[in-house]
Amino acid sequence: MAGYNKKAETAHVKAEHNQHDEEHFREKHLMLDPLPRGQMNDMVMESMYTTSWKFWVVFAILSVIVAWGLFYSWGRMILEGLGIAGVNRPAYWGIFLVNTVFWIGISHAGTFISAILRVFKAEFRRPFTRAAELMTTFGLVQAGFSIFMHMGRVWVFYWLMPYPNERMLWPNLHSPLTWDLLAITTYLLSSTMYLFLPLIPDLAMARDRSTGWRKNFYKILALGFRGTEGEWSHLRNAMSIFAFAIIPVMFSVHTIVSWDFAAATRPGWNSSIFGPYFVVGALHSGMGAVIMVLAVVRGTMKNMKYFIRPEHFDAIGKLMLIISMTWAYFFFNDYMVQWYGGDKWTHMLLHFHESGPMGWMWFAMLIFNIAIPWAVLWNQKWRSTPWIVFIVGLLINVGMWFERYIIIPISLSINRMPFTWRLYHPGVEIPLGIGTLAFFILLYMAASRLIPLIPVWEVEEGQMAHELKKFGRETVVTVSELE
């Protein structure tokens, strides 16, 4: 199987010389490079089983970080109060909500790739829908952690749930936070189900190819899937319903998150464009995260160079470029309209963003989110190179995190009562934020060794649908409608 790796590596170089070669098509495009199904299954199984000592070292380090950053620090904060964090008057919201918004943003990529691209039959999506979908679920877990950390009395979180009680009290449906809670819960549940449905055939595959505790594990999860005609048709129906249904959920979640800010009577927040602006921002950071994950998976996991090829980085890179442009458009729109609004507090705030003590962050945000993607991603060669897009994805994520930091604690520093203006200096938020990041990676690492990261059936389905045909002297790719 090692031969495929080499081929994939060299495919790109060859392509330059031999544009119309059939062999070149096969090397470049996964869909045109079919392998026997059994072999692909074995490759995926092997990738799950292979763990080097490095994996365990990283795993252990991350576990320690999670134990310290997340659980110990959070426990301390619950016992001592939010005083050990950096929140103050007027920056009542700090990095906790920055992280909440950030992780919800990350989670958007999965749905975008696996639902929207599925609905639009973008074929390049096939090998990495699951890798992206996993990010949705695990990202939302971190968002949940962050928002619960943020609460002053997290032990009474259940008061935010609507449940009948003798006090005759319900959550306040006027409050954007209540909408938030409902939206995030809905999104977490539906995206988990949407992760699970396409996973069933792969779990059944893994069940059939494993022994020991893993066999029991997959047996329970596969729900007795045998691959009969009826099962497949039910599964396809369910998936197409979910793929359509989850798209509005995805859009609503980040819109509602944006309403937490837009619905408030604060200078800088009270903006009607925040909904789409936040959705695009979420996709921006989400696509950046997907490309980082793919680069890491391709580089570290066995057999992945066959499934994830430069063509995929190329395709995602194009998407990133478009999203970056859209984000820039919304940013400019928001900034310009607010500036023209002429409100003195908004002016002061916009000025503070640029030239206040955290002004560097504002410029860094623009460079990372706009300048660098535009400068790099226009070049097909660059955007097909994993390490380059990895760095671009990383910078976009940092930039988007900065964007949320500017919107939340920095904007909160300026309000209509100048007597109370004050800067925000993070405290225990830093270990907690690192903890959520480590926990995300930890979950992902564990998942990569527990569930098939590549939807083999989906890849095979694509490969069956694709064909190379000669049209005169030209070799063309044809795709047949499957579903």
Partner: protein, 184 residues
């Protein structure tokens, strides 16, 4: 390892172990709940029943109920006013703590049974003035020896009565179900 453990659980011994663990946890929880429902130990086994039997009014010993927020526990001088004339006080073992307390000047430590959390600002006076009787909340003391609470004073208990009393009177309902009426 895990598999062996699960296999073991399926064996009779394992099932028994599961059963015992479950029962132990359940009975601990039940014990905890029942403990919280017991009337607490009091320094004197004060029989409300007998005192009410003598025809002593509630307000004789708890006059604060008609005047202000707290009904109050009577000063020992009030107990002693009658009891020092009763021969049994000198001999009864049950009354010894009272006697000792009066002699030593160290007050008895009563444990209140009818309590609301400290974020509830309850006022007895308003309730008495609104025509509520003591037993509506505190139960029929003439049947109790050591005071115990017939019901848990939680918000549902308060609101049930408040909404009932207000009935169709909207202004009264607003006042009686306003958060700020009890919580500040």
């Amino acid at each position: 390892m895990i598999k062996r453990f699960f296999d073991w659980l399926k064996k009779p011994l394992g099932l028994i172990a599961v059963g015992i663990t479950f029962l132990a946890l359940f009975s601990l929880a039940a014990y905890g709940i029942s403990l919280s429902q017991q009337p607490p130990a009091q320094p004197v086994q004060f029989p409300h029943r007998i005192h009410i039997g003598f025809g002593i009014q509630c307000l004789y010993c708890h006059p604060g109920a008609a005047k202000g927020p707290s009904a109050g526990i009577p000063a020992e001088a009030r107990c002693w006013g009658c009891h020092n004339q009763i021969v049994k006080t000198q001999t009864s073992l049950l009354l010894k703590p009272l006697k000792d307390s009066v002699i030593s000047g160290k007050p008895l430590q009563w444990v209140p049974v009818a309590q609301v959390p400290d974020f509830v600002q309850f006022n007895h006076r308003a309730h008495i003035a609104a025509g509520q009787n003591c037993e509506n909340c505190h139960g029929d003391m003439s049947k109790m020896t050591v005071a115990e609470n017939p019901q848990i004073f939680n918000m549902g208990f308060c609101l049930k009565c408040h909404t009932k009393v207000a009935g169709e009177n909207h202004d009264l309902l607003v006042k009686l179900t306003d958060c700020g009426t009890c919580h500040y």
